[in-house]
């Protein structure tokens, strides 16, 4: 059964004075199984982050709905109990590890704060043990518990952010460009960690990124977005092997790597511009 069901999600932002409204997302639909993962890729401005924010309820959609385990989560929640229940359904890890943690709180205080709110039944010693478990899960040394965000590296901060999201025990975890700000070796470690957590905890992942290669590492399916539209959606292996849409082909060719041909990228860009013009 799908843990996350997104149906015809749409959002249009009003244009600035004298400008046209901006369609950030149009008819976006997908399903994610428990323990499954979906990648949302596209260039900057394609609407990926808007979709991610609509999934967690930070941006309200103009149309469509988001269901987690059959319950609609795209509407604003009123009351503490409803907000806490929503939190346990879906969590998010943000792009910038430098500003996504409260700078006043140490790693331990940050995690204890979440546990106090979501699992008040835990005694002090149990909460301490749980903090140890969480740090262990995300591969952080326990000696860092007293550290504040400014004392941690980008990778360590992102691990704390993941631990903070996991402390709530969510069913779905949305990662918005969660490894983009990190260097390549740290990216690889975080991606491995996400795969392990997905397998161990059965959490559904939605991985938003502009980087197809990174998305290919952690997802079963990929949704390609262009100017708010879902232009292609397929199983990861199939989409990477045989991209059907010219925009997906262009994205794949744009990724620098072995056999990267800049002239081919220019050719595809021109071809894609023609296709777009016809449609």
């Amino acid at each position: 059964m799908s843990v996350l069901a997104v149906d015809k999600l749409g959002k249009t932002f009003p244009g600035r004075r004298g400008q046209q409204p901006v369609v950030a997302a149009r008819d976006i639909s997908f399903l994610v199984e428990a323990g499954g993962s979906l990648g949302v890729v596209g260039e900057s401005g394609s609407g990926k982050t808007t979709v991610a924010r609509m999934l967690v309820g930070l941006t309200s959609p103009d149309q469509g709905k988001v269901m987690v385990e059959g319950r609609e989560t795209s509407k604003p929640e009123r009351g503490r109990a409803a907000r806490l229940r929503r939190a346990r359904e879906i969590q998010m890890v943000f792009q910038d590890p430098y500003t996504s943690l409260d700078r006043r709180l140490s790693v331990e205080s940050c995690l204890r704060d979440v546990l106090n709110r979501h699992r008040p039944e835990l005694a002090k010693a149990q909460a301490a043990a749980e903090i140890g478990n969480l740090l262990d899960q995300v591969g952080l040394a326990s000696k860092l518990t007293a550290s504040r965000p400014h004392e941690l590296s980008g990778g360590q901060r992102q691990r704390v952010a993941i631990a903070r999201a996991l402390a709530v025990r969510p069913r779905v975890l949305v990662l918005d460009e969660a490894v983009s700000a990190l260097d390549v070796s740290v990216q690889a470690k975080i991606l491995t960690l996400l795969n392990e957590l997905r397998a161990a905890l059965g959490i559904a992942l939605v991985f938003v990124s502009h980087d197809l290669a990174v998305v290919g590492e952690v997802t079963d399916r990929i949704l390609v977005m262009y100017r708010g539209d879902d232009v292609e959606q397929n199983a990861t292996a199939e989409l990477l092997r045989r991209p059907r849409h010219p925009y997906t082909q262009m994205l794949l060719s744009s990724a620098p790597g072995p056999g990267w041909q800049p002239e081919r990228v220019a050719e595809l860009r021109a071809a894609f511009a023609l296709t777009e013009g016809r449609s």
């Binding site: 806490l84 939190a87 996504s100 409260d102 979440v114 709110r117």
Partner: protein, 284 residues
């Protein structure tokens, strides 16, 4: 080539310390003013209201270090005792204005939409109104006195604090950790009070310290005009007003000394406030 080993070594630290002397001097002035306010009865040589008609308008001497006023009262003792109403007035003004301003600013930033528009327009209108004129109007309605002048002045200062708080709160709210708290199910009031406000404090404190100096000056101006503290208070602004009659006769001490005291404390709080803002901004 010879090297003079006895020459003092100039390090970055010693240079920085030399550059920071205005800060340390200003901090010392503030500490001194606070000590005077707290320990006035113990450190002042005379009672502030003790008159001596045999020693009117006396110049500085061994018995009266800063001289006496038109009623023969010791000016040094009055300045020391005056620290209490002067500083307390400014603190009370700032406390009331801060509570009001921060509440309005943070609510406007958090709620956004029509709440923000309405609160911003109200503060804009109040901001455009000259503060002193506003207080004079409040005093005209509620009668003169220190409480009225402090509350009136607090209402005049609140819009500036509200505008400042709103702008730094909006900047802080753009940081994803605020969204992370929302996603954890933290409600608006708790989020603003427990998480957002403590993160605004470092920036806010520097601004408020500078504003404290301004508040002190404004209250002294009101007292000078006769709208605030009333005799026999030794509030510094009132002392300047009472010493005016001496200036006509060429005796400037009774007006100049409390005036200088106000100026020195205001400059000191400005220097400390600016330095504090810089330090806290770097740490942030």
């Amino acid at each position: 080539m010879t090297v003079d080993l006895t020459a003092p070594v100039v390090t970055a630290t010693s240079t920085r310390r030399r550059q920071e002397w205005p800060f340390y001097l200003s901090a010392a002035v503030i500490v001194l003013a606070v000590i005077a306010a707290v320990l006035a009865p113990l450190v002042a040589p005379y009672s502030p209201s003790q008159t001596d008609f045999a020693a009117l308008w006396q110049p500085p001497s061994a018995t009266h270090w800063l001289g006496t006023d038109q009623l023969g009262r010791d000016i040094l003792s009055r300045v020391i005792h005056g620290a209490r109403p002067s500083l307390l007035g400014a603190i009370a003004l700032l406390a009331v204005a801060t509570v009001l301003g921060v509440l309005i600013g943070i609510t406007a930033a958090w709620k956004g939409g029509w709440v923000d528009t309405a609160l911003s327009r109200i503060t804009d209108v109040m901001f455009a109104f000259p503060g002193l004129l506003f207080v004079v109007l409040v005093i005209a309605v509620f009668d003169r006195g220190q409480v009225t002048s402090v509350l009136g002045m607090a209402l005049a200062y609140a819009p500036a604090i509200a505008k400042f708080t709103r702008s730094i709160a909006l900047e802080e709210m753009a940081r994803p950790y605020v969204d992370a708290y929302r996603l954890q199910g933290v409600g608006g009031a708790v989020l603003c009070g427990k998480y957002l406000l403590p993160n605004l404090l470092p920036t806010l404190v520097g601004y408020l310290v500078v504003l404290f100096g301004e508040g002190l000056m404004s209250l002294a101006s009101l007292n000078f005009l006769g709208f605030g503290s009333q005799p026999p208070s030794s509030e510094w602004g009132l002392m300047v007003q009472e010493g005016r009659t001496g200036v006509i006769q060429g005796i400037v001490g009774p007006a100049l000394i409390p005036g200088l005291t106000i100026a020195i404390v205001v400059v000191a709080t400005n220097v400390v406030g600016v330095r504090l803002s810089d330090k806290l901004a770097v740490r942030k």
